[in-house]
């Protein structure tokens, strides 16, 4: 009984609550992902919450004799156990993942980070719309030295407005709701520019689109799915180019195996099969196998795909005395060997810079006054297709990626920012304005974007700027059909506050394609603990109300007649 009292004492409760508060405070100072990992989901934090629950149970059990007088308090305390139980149920049996769907697509499985989950039904997206509020934009004209700016005015295309007298006026030639500034490659005067290459990606999973590379500014681009990277390397002369170009071998980009020599120097060899090196101690280190997606399937090592999900190399170390030892090294788990107690022999690590996790890489080696030599390095391929590219050349990369077309070579190029309408409504409103003096245009018309730089007037310290917001999102609507056994069993319009609930799963609107509004992102969750959590919530509030307001009322009712007696 006394142990119960100690563990369940108010002092212990205060101590544990304070520790929890401090832990949470520390958590909010960390970036969210780190806070989740090091605080909220860490074992010590969960242990702290567990200790609080034990304290709570002991406290409540230890004072069972006084329960009738403390109904509210007991309910409130026990309700917390419901919430915790719900959270545990969700932690153990809950499932959470997300899926991206285009109109017309169906899903019957979703990724939960580590694995795929299959649903007992499928969800078909029939429509996806983004509803937006109208954008707001006003034009303001300021004159340096003037007491106050001209009153902001609403713009209409074609309208002309005199400003600050003296014959000055500003004319709005065009208005667009959603504009964006995108960098563009343009020719530069001789001697001032850098080497630029315009390319076009096509035939793969992404819609065909143009890209560009620019020496010193934008030397590589990559597709968001990590399938392809295009690298531009500008070489000082043809000799250097040829030397570097020959060195591009299969496996280039796999990274390196590094070993520390006794004198502190480092031995390096490329992580591709067949590479060999002899250490200072006379041992021979050889790369046996390379697996970008290392898995163990049925006791055997397998390479599950060519995507660098878990890159690994198998290394053989043959000592002077002829003993051989084979070890797998993992790029993502450098401590694996040490963890598994394999400390004998020289310690080798597999170093793989994070930025080379691509399946296909197209290297463009250029010199300033010549053509481009290209090489395609693909993970899992023994050969390296090479060639020389001129404008109009089409380089086949792989079936799943398509081709890269060299649209044009600009020996003297620079970046220009081009204002263009965006594919989605995500951009900013803007106006094409023209300054006028006595009715005659002065200078060139220029686009002004809301929140962007103001446009300098041609004279008199005039400045014009557009203020306002783009069309903000009002609602996302994903219209879906639930298909089970070949029949549509449910139709639902998913919105942010209106999830689809079916078969124990809930589908929430969580993201969307900001660039083109082509796909919708749904969060799929099964939270079996929610009823418990909600029950806890209701009991907590009910208990508190009983303890604070109902019990005192009853007590007063009970004691009132007693007070009358004496």
């Amino acid at each position: 009984m006394s142990i119960l009292r100690t563990i369940g004492s108010a002092k212990a409760a205060v101590l544990l609550l304070s520790a929890t508060a401090v832990a949470c405070l520390v958590g909010t100072l960390l970036p969210q992902a780190q806070a989740n990992h090091f605080v909220y989901r860490a074992a010590w934090f969960l242990a702290l919450l567990g200790a609080l629950c034990i304290n709570l149970i002991c406290c409540t059990l230890g004072r069972y004799a006084s329960w009738p007088n403390r109904v509210g308090s007991v309910i409130t305390h026990l309700s917390i156990l419901f919430v915790v139980a719900g959270a545990i149920v969700d932690g153990v049996w809950g499932v959470r993942g997300d899926v991206q769907l285009r109109i017309g697509e169906s899903m019957a499985a979703f990724g939960t980070g580590a694995q795929q989950r299959t649903l007992p039904f499928s969800v078909h997206l029939t429509d996806f719309t983004v509803e937006r509020y109208p954008p707001t934009a006003e034009l303001t004209v300021v004159q340096t030295g003037a007491e106050k700016p001209e009153k902001p005015f609403e713009m209409t295309a074609g309208s002309e407005r005199p400003v600050f007298g003296a014959g000055w006026a500003i004319r709005v030639d065009d208005i667009k709701d959603s504009l964006g500034e995108s960098p563009k490659l343009v020719s530069a005067p001789a001697g001032s520019g850098k080497l630029g290459v315009r390319i076009k990606l096509g035939g793969g999973p992404h819609a065909s689109h143009e890209e560009f590379l620019l020496e010193g500014e934008r030397e590589e681009i990559a597709t968001p799915d990590h399938l392809l990277r295009v690298v531009l390397r500008v070489m000082p002369d043809a000799t250097t180019r040829d030397r570097e170009f020959i060195a591009l071998q299969p496996g280039a980009g796999n990274g390196f195996v590094e070993m520390a020599e006794p004198d502190g120097s480092k031995l390096r060899l490329e992580a591709r099969p067949g590479q060999k090196v002899t250490t200072q101690a006379g041992a021979v280190v050889e790369v046996l196998r390379y697996a970008p997606h290392f898995v163990i399937d049925g006791g055997a090592v397998k390479n599950a795909s060519e995507r660098p999900v878990n890159p690994a190399v198998q290394v053989r170390v043959e000592s002077k005395d002829g003993t051989k030892k084979d070890t797998w090294l993992f790029a993502h788990f450098p401590d694996f060997r040490r963890m598994h107690g394999q400390q004998a022999g020289p310690v080798a690590t597999y170093v793989r810079p994070a930025d080379i996790d691509f399946v296909h890489q197209l290297f463009l080696y250029a010199v300033h006054d010549g053509d481009i030599a290209y090489a395609v390095v693909s993970s899992g391929r023994e050969d390296v297709p090479r060639g020389s590219a001129v404008s109009g050349a089409r380089i086949a990369i792989a079936v799943e990626v398509g081709t890269v077309e060299i649209v044009g070579l600009l020996p003297q190029a620079t970046l220009a920012h081009e204002v263009a309408e965006t594919a989605s409504g995500e951009g900013r409103p803007g106006a094409l304005v023209q300054w006028l003096k006595n009715g005659k245009p002065v200078g060139q018309p220029a686009w002004l974007l809301a929140g962007g730089d103001p446009a300098m007037g041609p004279d008199a310290g005039l400045l014009a700027a557009v203020t306002g917001y783009g069309a903000r999102v009002k609602a996302f609507r994903s219209t879906v059909q639930v298909v089970e056994n070949g029949a549509v069993v449910k139709e639902h319009k998913i919105e942010v506050n209106r999830p689809l609930v079916y078969g124990g799963y809930s589908f929430y609107q969580s993201s969307y394609d900001r660039e083109r509004e082509k796909w919708t992102g749904l969060e799929v969750a099964r939270s079996p603990g929610v009823p418990l959590v909600y029950a806890g919530f209701i009991l907590f509030v009910a208990g508190l109300v009983v303890a604070l307001y109902v019990q005192p009322l009853l007590k007063r009712g009970r004691t009132a007649p007693n007070e009358e007696k004496p």
């Binding site: 969210q32 609602a475 996302f476 969060e523 604070l548």
Partner: protein, 335 residues
């Protein structure tokens, strides 16, 4: 709303009510007491009308950004104070309480844009928006009154020999004022990110000095004017404090619970440890600790007062600090 006639009348009403309470602070005459109460009631009704007007203009509950919630907070403070005055007397709290409501309105109009902005999709659920925000801000209103009671209790502890109470009051006021001053400076671009730490210390020091200079004479004046004479039973203040904090705790709990259910509805997770959620949890824990110290541990006096003050700092940080200093899902509130 800032251009509304009602809003300007409300300003004047609060100003007049504050002055009335200030000049009749130690009065116990029934007529004067009732007159003040009536004045406050009219002001409160006017405040309700202002909120209703904006509700009508916006076509949605006006509870979505700093401006709207500050106006709502002022309403909560005034409402809770009126309830406390009717139940416990404690008229001496009237001037600071009504002034706090006025300051809340002032902060809203002076610092934040009052334009009606469209709602982002997650907030477009009038039922949860209204219940969640109302309960949170009723709770904040109760905690604000509780905080004023704490300051009063600290001033009461000041006697002729030591002014420790005054300094403690000054310190606790500083902790609230300094961040607001810093946010203001930062908004005007005076404070850049690289300067934050040294400037923060300097600003805090200046605020502490000003608060100290102001609090000491107030406390001395209160003593000369025999503050205690307005509170007949000294225990009444402490009882009122704890009842008010319990009310705040209940409202905050309901606010967190409704927020959690709403998050489950909108995002599919009832708790995600985002900074706003975590800080409301920290606030809840501190007031929870206060309850356990007071009712479990059976302690009274300075420790419980300081826990309540600490709790209020957490309230203020949850409301302002998280919006401006930490990022998270609730970031839309910082406008």
């Amino acid at each position: 709303m800032t251009e509304s006639v009602l809003f300007n009348i409300l300003y004047i009403a609060y100003f007049v009510t504050t002055l009335f309470y200030a000049f009749t602070i130690f009065t116990t005459r029934r007529g004067v007491v009732l007159a003040g109460r009536g004045l406050l009631l009219v002001t409160l009704l006017l405040h309700t009308a202002v909120i209703a007007e904006r509700w009508g203009m916006a076509g949605r509950p006006p509870m979505s950004n700093m401006f709207e919630t500050l106006v709502f907070l002022g309403w909560g403070i005034a409402l809770v104070y009126l309830t406390v005055e009717i139940k416990y007397g404690l008229r001496v709290l009237g001037m600071p309480a009504v002034l706090a409501a006025l300051l809340s309105l002032g902060l809203a109009t002076l610092v934040f844009p009052g334009t009606i902005e469209p709602l982002m999709p997650a907030l477009q659920n009038s039922f949860w928006l209204t219940t969640h925000v109302s309960f949170c801000f009723f709770g904040y209103g109760a905690f604000s009154i509780g905080y004023l009671m704490c300051l009063l209790l600290l001033i009461r502890r000041t006697d002729g020999h030591r002014n420790a109470g005054c300094y403690l009051v000054a310190l606790s006021v500083t902790a609230l004022v300094a961040p607001v001053v810093m946010i203001e400076l930062r908004r005007h671009g005076v404070m850049t990110l690289t300067l934050t730490v040294p400037v923060a210390i300097a600003v805090t020091a200046v605020c502490a000095a000003v608060a100290g200079l102001l609090t000491v004479p107030v406390a001395l004046l209160a003593r000369v004017a025999k503050l205690d004479s307005t509170v007949k039973n000294p225990d009444v203040l402490e009882t009122a404090l704890h009842r008010t904090l319990l009310l705040g705790f209940l409202f905050l709990s309901i606010g967190i619970v409704t927020g959690s259910v709403w998050a489950q509805e909108a995002w599919g997770r009832y708790w995600g440890w985002d900074p706003k959620e975590t800080w409301s949890f920290i606030t809840w824990l501190i007031y929870g600790i206060h309850l356990h110290v007071r009712f479990g541990w059976q302690k009274r006096g300075v420790l419980t007062i300081w826990l309540a003050i600490l709790g209020y700092w957490a309230v203020v940080f949850t409301y302002f600090g998280v919006n401006f200093l930490l990022s998270g899902l609730h970031s839309y509130a910082a406008s």
